[in-house]
């Protein structure tokens, strides 16, 4: 018994490092190395280190030719309002769903979290947005993202509120606070950890979404970062311009990686506590 266990103590770290190098290291190196190569070297992507280094030029080309700043602003103008709406509307609904009893509440809750599993009917959404005059506009995109991700936030928040004792709310009520005051002063502050999780999950999905953005926003002036990336990668001008594509990929990924590094602990505990309950 002791022998294989002792061997495993030394083999395991080697396996972990080997796997990480192969599964994450190789793709990461390919991206970083190619983003530093001149075009001639990058046409046929390989794992060789660059002969001539020009990361600065590639990154500034990706920024200017890929219109990254416009894409960034467009992404933020859609994602920030959508996340805020998802959180505020989701928290209000979750409070009612968690605290009230009855068949109607259970049914409304079941319907509102169905979006966790059901696919959005994106084709009909487009028609509906056209009829409302919202197709191709940011308010249209915000409404679609909000509806799509409300289920996630309602699911996480309802579970969380159920675990908060009633007494905290009651104490405020005895002091004469009405529902709005109780919600803003007592419930919302308690929700802080789950708000962090929901924010990050929604940001993660919306930041990378290209499918729904294509249908709703299209490739026009309101194009978000992932749409820009798609256009950069598919345009004839950029065909096989892997050095620019990967410079774009690095720049576009940095914000999400930064968010993860800052909020790592909270993300990990939030994701896992919501899922396994």
């Amino acid at each position: 018994m002791a022998r294989p266990a002792a061997a495993w103590r030394w083999v395991r770290p080697a396996v972990v490092v080997g796997l990480a190098a192969l599964a994450v290291g190789v793709p990461l190196w390919l991206v970083l190395a190619t983003a530093a190569k001149p075009q001639a070297e990058a046409v046929r992507p390989n794992l060789d280190p660059p002969d001539a280094w020009q990361p600065g030029r590639n990154y500034s080309d990706a920024l200017s030719e890929g219109e990254m700043l416009r894409g960034l602003v467009n992404s933020l103008l859609v994602i920030v309002p959508a996340v805020l709406l998802v959180l505020v509307l989701g928290a209000g609904a979750a409070w009612v769903f968690a605290r009230r009893r009855g068949r109607l509440v259970a049914a409304a809750y079941a319907v509102c979290v169905s979006g966790l599993l059901l696919p959005p009917a994106i084709i009909t959404i487009v028609l509906q947005l056209r009829q409302l005059g919202l197709a191709g506009t940011r308010p249209g995109m915000i409404a679609v993202y909000t509806a799509m991700y409300l289920s996630t936030s309602i699911f996480f928040m309802t579970g969380f509120i159920r675990s908060i004792p009633h007494e905290l709310e009651e104490a405020a009520r005895i002091d004469g606070a009405g529902p709005l005051r109780v919600f803003v002063r007592v419930v919302l502050p308690l929700l802080r950890p789950v708000i962090a999780t929901a924010t990050i999950m929604v940001m993660l999905y919306a930041w990378s979404d290209v499918f729904y953005a294509f249908f709703v926003l299209g490739g026009g002036d309101a194009a978000t970062l992932p749409i820009n990336l798609y256009q950069v990668a598919s345009a004839q001008l950029y065909l096989n311009n892997w050095h620019l594509i990967f410079a774009y990929v690095v720049l576009m990924s940095l914000p999400m990686i930064a968010v993860f590094l800052v909020a790592q602990r909270r993300i990990v505990s939030g994701i896992t506590s919501g899922a396994v309950k």
């Binding site: 190619t34 979006g115 909000t146 993660l204 990686i257």
Partner: protein, 298 residues
């Protein structure tokens, strides 16, 4: 501030206390937005597939089953269903196998393990479209893998095996999330149970088969459902690696919808969208009840 709700002396009267303390209107905005932009489109999606809605007409009229007949006759319906199901099954399999493997490898809470958990979580943070391009550069016939191996294998050009490779990429992208959830599941297993099994002389494999895996049931339920149903709704990775090719062998439903919608054939795209919806519902109900029952058995 709204006065009617802040009064303290309101007689509870006929209104139940719940209605006073947690009034419905807090849920109303969420219900309206969800109803209007998620539920309603999904309901309307039961109507448009039976019309001739397209980019070339100004009027929409009823045409019965024409759209379904067309995708049935040209073979796209069955192909799309088969490709989507195969892709989803494989992607769920790889995502869970990788995630569980990593969770078991990195189970103990050490500094070393925490660092490598973050490393394996990195792909989750990168957009799926970007992931697709990275693997296209790796597996292109002119790509980095063939260059490193000195081969010329058309990794992304095989009508049988390319879909497996793309599903591996999907599993790779999401394995970090599955890993976190399995880790939380492993952490939730009471220490006494493991002690008792160890005292009874159970080896590592036996411990896993007989105790840890069954006790992981809630994590398995969550991971299997979300990965299977989520990968039915896939687009980005397939679009960026193969674009649906070769010869349509990786054309999942969302790629078909995207392509046909671009041609202005809206009603046909919507017909496929309805099929996707029905398949997801048909899978979700037995899947969730079955896995829940399995949880309770242990």
């Amino acid at each position: 501030m709204a006065t009617p709700v802040t009064t303290t002396g309101r007689p509870p009267g006929r209104l139940p206390r719940a209605a006073v303390h947690h009034p419905w209107w807090f849920a109303l905005p969420a219900v309206l937005v969800f109803g209007g932009f998620f539920l309603l489109p999904n309901l309307l999606n039961f109507w448009y597939p039976f019309t001739d809605w397209s980019g070339y007409r100004s009027q929409i009229s009823f045409t019965g089953l024409d759209n379904f007949r067309q995708i049935l006759d040209d073979g796209t319906l069955w192909r799309a269903i088969r490709v989507t199901l195969v892709y989803a099954l494989l992607a769920a399999l790889f995502q869970n196998a990788f995630g569980l493997g990593l969770a078991l490898l990195l189970e103990r809470d050490t500094r070393f393990n925490r660092f490598f958990r973050a490393v394996f979580f990195l792909p989750v943070l990168i957009s799926a479209l970007a992931v697709g391009y990275v693997f296209q550069a790796l597996f292109n016939t002119d790509g980095a893998v063939n260059d490193a191996l000195g081969t010329a294998v058309p990794w992304l050009g095989d009508t049988t095996w390319t879909i497996v490779l793309v599903a591996v990429v999907h599993g790779w992208k999401w394995m970090g999330l599955a890993m976190l959830i399995y880790l939380a599941g492993l952490k939730g297993i009471p220490g006494e149970v493991l002690e008792a099994a160890r005292a009874d002389g159970a080896g590592p494999w036996r411990m896993f088969r007989a105790i840890r895996f069954p006790l992981l049931a809630p994590a398995v339920t969550f991971n299997v459902t979300t990965s299977l149903l989520g990968s039915m709704n896939t687009f980005d990775i397939v679009q960026a690696t193969t674009g649906g090719g070769p010869a349509g062998s990786t054309e999942v439903m969302n790629i078909y919808m995207f392509r046909v919608f671009g041609q202005g054939l809206y009603a046909q795209a919507s017909a496929m969208s309805l099929v996707l919806f029905l398949i997801v519902v048909a899978l979700a109900v037995p899947l969730i009840t079955g896995l829940r029952r399995r949880e309770q058995m242990w």
